[in-house]
Amino acid sequence: MKNYKYKQVITNILKYTIMIMAVLVVVVPIVPIVLGSFKDSVEFQTSDVFELPKSFTLSNYVTAFTDGNMMMGFINTVLILVISLAISILTGAMTAYVLHRFNFKGHGKIKALFLIAALLPSITNNIATFQIVSRLGIFNTRFVGILLFSGTDIISVYIMLQFLDNISVSLDESAMMDGASYFKIFFKIILPLLMPAAITVGIIKGVAIYNDFITPYLFMPSSELAMISTALFNFKGPFAAQWEVISAGIIITALPILVIFLISQKWIYNGLVLGAVKE
């Protein structure tokens, strides 16, 4: 018995040591960035990276927001994000509703169309997307971002389909007894009940759009159209020697996501697992 207890103490120590070390690996690279973002440029260059800021200034954040174009980045990101999420979630719900509730010719083919789309290498296909966007005359407009982010993907559709499984068809049927049209059934009954799915998709997709770099980088290069990723990327030029400003930019970029994560951890975990397992 004594031996057993002794063993358990060892296991406990080992367990927590491992976890704390893993957390340190995550945190250590970030700490100097957080500290550095509050140092003035002289202090940043003379102090050790792990030293606490003595000058404690917020001017780097001001610089990042104004000269660094992050203000513009936020405005554009929020604008594009809200519009394209609304379109994407609505069309995703519509697609899932039609695929779930109706049987029709080409049903399987349409599902396959979404499934195969996920396999195409979208990054390198941008070569052709670039040509299409140029020909359409929408290159370097906010509209490109909205258009490219508004598409529905198979994972969103799958998440919606899974929730639809739990919305009883008898609800639709009793509404039909009352003479409700399919449109009314969708907008008045199904869509409100799909809210949890919509939130799951919205968070996962929202984070993905917020973090996306290649779309604004390739298709919206002018600085008034910068999204948060491209605004931060552009720091590399003018602020190349000013790591205190870059640090502030990094924090500004990551902070909103941290807040979202703290609020909606469960949704994010569930959404990811649901999406990936279905793939």
Partner: protein, 293 residues
């Protein structure tokens, strides 16, 4: 309107926008890339048809082939990443305090903007950056610019990729482990099984499928690496990747070779298709095994 008519109308109305977007920005580009890949085209001059020459050029040109080989670093990195994730997920599946805190901390890098991660580690590896500072605590004073060291930099970049993406595997594995009924653990513990035996005989077999899935995703990820090296080194010092090269040649480089870049894109497509096919075969065998049982 009759329900039959309504049905047809709603199917057409509800599907038209998503399908239009899908055809326009996913399928059309793929078809065009296939077509472009047979051309010699700089984007400004007239294109000429060259058949399969672009594909031959990919194999012949070391400049293009080397970046493809760099995927190996990221693939090995991904294997290490999965091993770490599996280990940590197992530790977290035992009785442990602050479980959600640990899980959250380890997962969060996955959500941080890729540009931000790239910049964090550019600072980490630079001359008077974080790594050299840490080394100086151990009496090793250096001003090495780590990302410029040819034999190391690709491994370091793969390491950053592990830092960012490990949390994704961790959450997947924890999800799978949680779906194992706790009765089984308790029975095993009563029977005197140790932690390793529990892992070997209970945890591992029940999450084999999810490991396989993550492995497939790892291969696809390894051939598609773009952001991290692009920000941290710009592909210099032999750290370019296939996708960096493709984007450079096809969209934003100084001298465009759209035909060649398109052929590269198609090669990537072929690799992904091959891996997907492999996945289907492996999973199908699994299912058949299960049926036989």
């Amino acid at each position: 309107m009759s329900y039959k008519k309504q049905k047809n109308l709603i199917i057409i109305l509800f599907l038209s926008i998503p399908i239009l977007l899908l055809l326009m920005f996913t399928y059309l580009p793929t078809v065009l890339v296939a077509y472009f890949s047979t051309l010699n085209w700089s984007g400004t001059d007239d294109a000429t048809f060259v058949g399969f020459q672009n594909y031959i050029a990919i194999v012949r040109s070391a400049d293009i082939f080397m970046p493809l080989l760099n995927s190996v670093y990221y693939f090995i990195g991904a294997l290490i990443q999965m091993a770490i994730a599996l280990f940590l997920a197992t530790v977290l599946s035992f009785k442990i305090k602050f479980k959600n805190f640990f899980k959250g901390m380890l997962f969060f890098p996955y959500l941080i903007n890729g540009i931000a991660v790239g910049l964090i580690f550019t600072f980490f590896f630079r001359e008077n950056g974080v790594l050299n500072e840490i080394l100086s605590w151990f009496g090793h004073n250096s001003t090495t610019d780590w990302l410029r060291i040819d034999i190391l930099n690709n491994s370091l970049l793969a390491g950053v990729s592990i830092w960012k993406y490990m949390g994704f595997n961790l959450v997947m594995f924890i999800g799978a482990i949680q779906s194992i009924s706790s009765d089984i653990y308790e029975a095993a513990e009563i029977d005197g099984a140790n932690k390793f035996q529990i892992f070997r005989h209970i945890i591992f077999p029940s999450i084999k499928n999810i490991i396989l899935l993550n492995l497939i995703l790892a291969i696809k990820g390894a051939v598609s690496v773009y952001e991290l090296p692009y920000i941290m080194t710009g592909g210099q010092w032999n750290t370019s990747t296939f996708v960096i090269k493709t984007i450079q040649l096809g969209i934003n480089g100084r001298f465009l070779q759209i035909g060649l870049a398109s052929a590269m894109s198609f090669v990537l497509f072929a690799i992904i298709m091959l891996v997907t096919r492999l996945q289907q075969i492996l999973f199908k065998e699994k299912e058949q095994e299960n049926h036989l049982k």
